[in-house]
Symmetry: C2
Subunit: 213 residues, 2 copies
DNA sequence: TAGATTGTTAATCGATTAACAATC
DNA sequence: TAGATTGTTAATCGATTAACAATC
């Protein structure tokens, strides 16, 4: 949890940096050891200038004329985003969405450790999902503390969303919530909530694919 | 597919408008017939000024001193975003993520019709998921045309992503792709791709919940 | 009426884009 | 060497915020 030495990183830049990480991994797995700002921007869909401006926020890693070493750049981004320190994650709700996330999202590659899954259905409590055992949501607060969990994602039915959010807050230690439920949550100001209502992505796609851009 | 009468709507505004729709629905279901820019911004997490600036892009619907009628405003947003006309959607890949989306996302409320689901596993082809029958992905192109599908979402393993994307493009008619796979896609410029790699949301949450904002 | 809240323009802020020297 | 590409500053662009008249 080193304090960032230079100025704050802007929100749009931080968001793009996370996406660059995936592109870099893909690029590396294709056997490329270096990448230029032009190549990266072609894949991402922005401009070389913006890529360089983003990477300028890191400890410099490029070599003029040769582009960026993919591995070096990957590490620089991870460090800048604080993904070098493991962040413990809990998934609340182990229905189809929760278990899809648990099983398919490559957390460990990006500095996140899936440290707890919770549900209220007896049929699934005790089963292993994504490599760990599903716990009873009744034990949520106690277990969150025990496992030092600092971020959580809500994959429960909308009707249970606020109630679970309240527990996440009262447990202490949870600083961020990724909310996949339809409901907007009321939480204290010091808790970061990122709303990811899936249906919004579909509406946006419908709109943008109709009216250009 | 009426052409928008006034100027183009900006990307950030369009994205927020889709989220306002969910908030309005929630607000209405709590028994409130009107909402002020202050109330809406409190829930969304922005400012009354920004809300009014966003809503200024619509046919005006507010009443000074009384705020906005929730139903009227909802319809105005839907119309402005073109969600009045039904958009036909296909889900490609009926694993946990694909079926979670098919079953839990309330498409029909927001002008989107789930018109096709495709997979390559015999065990699930022919079964009903989210109210419609899973088809063999081998019939993808033919079926996309038959069902007049214009947007699609990729919920397949990364290894199959580009291949399926190519089919979506070659089928014709598909204008937008929501990509939940880890892979970046290569598609022609006239196809809108929105990348929604879930792991990025988690990285962003980890970052933002550490370093303020 | 007075207070509240919108509609709308103007000012500010921040992000993107452009430019170019440095240099490999 | 000449050409390519970064690092970095400056210019532009667009989005957010502020302000306030209109008015219910």
């Amino acid at each position: 949890m080193k304090k960032s030495k230079s100025r704050e990183i802007s929100r749009p830049t931080a968001e793009r940096l996370t996406e660059y990480l995936l592109i870099l991994e893909q690029h590396l797995s294709c056997g490329n050891e270096t990448i230029s700002s032009k190549e990266l921007s072609d894949v991402f869909g922005n401009t070389p200038s913006q890529v360089r401006q983003d990477l300028f926020q890191l400890e410099n890693t490029g070599r003029i004329r040769h582009g960026y070493n993919v591995k070096t750049l990957t590490m620089a981004i991870r460090n800048r985003l604080g993904l070098g320190n493991i962040t413990n994650l809990a998934i609340i709700g182990c229905g189809k969405l929760g278990s899809a996330i648990a099983e398919h999202v490559p957390f460990s590659v990006y500095g996140i450790k899936l440290a707890g899954i919770f549900d209220n259905h007896k049929s699934i409590i005790g089963k292993k999902v994504g490599g760990i055992m599903v716990e009873n949501v009744k034990d949520l607060e106690k277990s969150l503390r025990k496992r030092k969990i600092s971020i959580a994602t809500l994959c429960v039915p909308p009707s249970a969303a606020q109630e679970v959010a309240d527990k996440l807050v009262s447990a202490g230690g949870v600083r961020g919530i990724l909310n996949y439920t339809q409901k907007r949550l009321k939480v204290p100001d010091n808790i970061v909530v990122r709303d990811r209502q899936i249906v919004c992505s579909f509406m946006q796609l419908a709109f943008f694919s109709n009216q250009g851009v």
